[in-house]
């Protein structure tokens, strides 16, 4: 099933706190679009940059996001088997119209840019702009995002989550996203979905939701793996966002693990003809070992470092 909201894919904005005299760093990184303080906007425009003025008050009003990636959690998560992932996709899905700001440590800007782009989020990237290698890596990611063929399709969801606005429901969404269980946020149960998760009902008691990981696992069992729109094999740290209409599909894949993965296997529910994958850092690649069965399509992505986008056409 596809969600109603179409999210315009836009490249996140780089918050640049320095004066126009620092433009060589941006030029070297190929970054042409920035967010700056309003009193510096004109000078940056005069220098040839596309500028979005952002006040301190507006920045403060934006929802702050955690730095994406994996985090060591001894006793709770295992680095290779069940890594702890910090991801924000569930927040974007829950509040698609909100405005966000990342406050990022070194090395995280490209991943954050990809994550925000994949969900079409209005996000500002705040990080140490004096870190030239970081600026350069972000520039490469932004150039990749800007060069992607435009394709704006509705999000695919396997189930609905009725949002009561509570923190516990948010954590359930977080863990659903963590398991690539694609959900749509609704305000009331929808007959369009086989599963409607409403926390506090006899089927989904609040006490069970207090352990969101086990709760997400319960929902996975109810849905069954065979009926899931998206499966990822060969990694526990790649999360996906699937969008599709009757004729096409676009799959965003975000690797939170920090290491390049070779041979990532994907299974999509539905029959798709051959497609292509755009891989950040590697360009356009062919899908490998594609298999189409009665109700699913499988293929391998040769490699993914941080982000990849798969474009497919529905099989006739």
């Amino acid at each position: 099933m596809t969600g109603l909201a179409l999210l315009a894919l836009s490249v996140p904005c780089v918050l640049w706190p320095a004066t126009v005299e620092s433009r060589s760093a941006l030029e070297a990184a190929g970054i042409k679009q920035i967010c700056v303080a309003p009193d510096r906007a004109d000078s940056w425009r005069a220098a040839g940059f596309t500028v979005t003025p952002v006040t301190d008050a507006e920045l403060a009003a934006r929802e702050r996001l955690s730095a994406p990636g994996t985090t060591p959690r001894p006793g709770v998560a295992s680095p290779t088997r069940a890594p702890w992932i910090d991801a924000n996709g569930w927040r974007f899905t829950r509040h698609p119209g909100s405005k966000y700001v990342y406050d990022l440590p070194a090395g995280k800007a490209p991943l954050a840019a990809a994550e925000a782009f994949a969900y079409g989020a209005d996000a500002v990237l705040k990080f140490d702009v004096t870190d030239a290698p970081d600026v350069a890596r972000l520039g490469q990611m932004l150039a990749f995002l800007a060069a992607l063929p435009p394709l704006d399709l509705p999000a695919v969801a396997d189930l609905a989550v009725v949002d009561d606005g509570s923190a516990v429901t948010g954590e359930v969404m977080n863990l659903l996203a963590r398991r690539n269980l694609l959900f749509q946020v609704v305000q009331a149960p929808s007959a369009r979905f086989p599963i409607n998760v409403r926390i506090g009902t006899p089927e989904y008691p609040r006490t069970e939701a207090a352990d969101p990981s086990a709760f997400a696992q319960k929902i996975r069992r109810q849905l069954t793996d065979d009926r899931r729109a998206l499966r990822v094999y060969g990694s526990e740290v790649v999360l996906g966002r699937l969008t599709a209409d009757a004729g096409r599909a676009r799959l965003h894949l975000i690797n939170y693990g920090g290491r390049e993965i070779e041979g990532l296997r994907i299974r999509l529910r539905g029959r798709y003809a051959d497609g292509e994958v755009h891989v950040a850092g590697a360009g356009r690649l062919a899908l490998e070992d594609r298999v189409v069965t009665d109700d699913a399509t499988e293929f391998t992505i040769p490699r993914i470092s941080t982000y990849a986008v798969v474009d497919l056409r529905t099989a006739r």
Binding site: D225, Y233, E236, R259, I261, E262, T300
Partner: protein, 398 residues
């Protein structure tokens, strides 16, 4: 050479001892002997996906079900230095292969399994580096005999799953130029999948993991025609022992560490199920159990010599279950000699979940409830003979 054939009496005595061990372990937990293995109803659903059909006579259990030849030599290893004697090992290999096959010559024995057109994989075990890995002397003798049969060196592959382990062991330095040494992954980091066959896998949701597949190495499914399995005599924290079955199964498939977590191990059924998958089952034609050195605790690793012992024997078979059945007793006996708990122990009192430091320091600590019953389970899949009374053991001394 001294030879004692068909020592069924000895084997039966060993069986009685092991049964007592089962009962003892079970009594410690307040249960019956049947409690010493995982309950059938706890077994996870395992789905095999493979387009490969078994050959008429699969390599496992092969032409000699229930038959094991053990060759021992006090000269095989200098126990003060741990160094193996190449000439003695070569003689042990020759006698073992001839006895197993009843061939008149060593060359004939090897021709029983291999022909020049074969592409042969040698599944070594590097996990016990530096003190207990598949011995260079055995691997090099295997290569020598294969080339004598006419298999070109370029058609011989020494393989493991992880390249960093292969680099540590550096088999290439001990082998003729041209022999391939390969691995599927750079290291155990769950990021390299291109060395695995996406169409041949075991699917199972064991602990709620997202990646529910274990894929076979492409080398095994798409390149090799025959495989020789060379495990070591080692204890194992999740399986009780790591012998023929564990080495060939967990050493040929991806994403297998997921089978044990939180003190619980699904190795009971997964080890055998993987070993029984085609084409692995059909192509694995020879088991050479390297017992020159062994590990009685802390396995599969052997970073120190503290738990290393020296059986100074090599076993030859086509039946991996029969060899592993004997291995259970060897490891159990060695552990008992050191006063360590049984490999069948399932007592919560012995369990310090995931505490590898405590396990390494104390042989009476388990980090997972072990599943030595995986050997018997594999027999139910047709991989070999578990009943010790039906195992024929030829013991030779060099």
């Amino acid at each position: 050479m001294h030879r004692r054939s068909f020592v069924r009496l000895l084997a039966a005595a060993t069986y009685a001892r092991t049964s007592l061990a089962h009962a003892s372990a079970a009594a410690a937990t307040g249960g019956s002997a049947a409690d010493a293995v995982q309950k059938t109803q706890d077994l996870p659903a395992l789905r095999v996906v493979s387009k490969y059909a078994p050959v008429a006579k699969p390599g496992m259990p092969g032409p000699f079900p229930g038959r094991v030849v053990s060759v021992k030599s006090d000269k095989a290893v200098d126990t003060t230095t741990g160094k193996a004697d190449e000439a003695t090992v070569r003689e042990m290999m020759a006698q073992g292969m001839r006895t197993l096959t009843r061939a008149a010559t060593t060359a004939d024995a090897w021709r029983r399994f291999f022909e020049p057109s074969d592409i042969v994989g040698i599944k070594v075990n590097c996990g016990g580096y530096p003190h207990c890995i598949s011995a260079y002397e055995i691997v090099s003798e295997v290569v020598r005999q294969l080339t004598a049969v006419g298999v070109p060196v370029t058609q011989i592959y020494v393989y493991e799953r992880f390249q960093n382990q292969m680099d540590e062991c550096d088999y290439a330095a001990h082998l003729p130029s041209g022999v391939q040494t390969v691995a599927a992954e750079r290291a155990n980091r769950n990021v390299d999948n291109s060395g695995y066959d996406p169409a041949t896998y075991l699917e199972a949701d064991l602990f709620g993991e997202e990646d529910t597949r274990s894929n076979i190495m492409r080398l095994v499914s798409q390149r090799l025609t025959k495989i020789i399995n060379i495990p070591n005599m080692k204890d194992h924290g999740a399986t009780g022992v790591t012998g023929c079955l564990k080495n060939i199964a967990y050493g040929s498939f991806s994403n297998v560490a997921r089978t044990h977590a939180g003190g619980k191990s699904h190795t009971y059924s997964v080890v055998g199920k993987l070993a029984a998958m085609e084409p692995l089952r059909s192509r694995t034609v020879l088991q050479i159990m390297d017992g020159l050195r062994g590990v009685w605790h802390g396995g599969p690793f052997a970073r120190t010599t503290r738990y290393v012992f020296y059986p100074r024997q090599i076993m030859f078979a086509t039946d991996p279950v029969a060899v592993d059945r004997l291995l259970l007793d060897i490891i159990e006996t060695e552990r008992r000699a050191h006063g360590a708990i049984s490999i069948w122990d399932r007592s919560p009192a012995s369990l310090k979940m995931n505490d590898t430091r405590a396990r390494d320091a104390d042989p009476n600590v388990n980090i997972i409830i072990r599943e030595p019953g995986h050997v018997e389970y594999a027999a139910t899949l047709g991989l070999g003979v578990y009943d010790i009374k039906k195992i024929t053991l030829d013991q030779l001394t060099v």
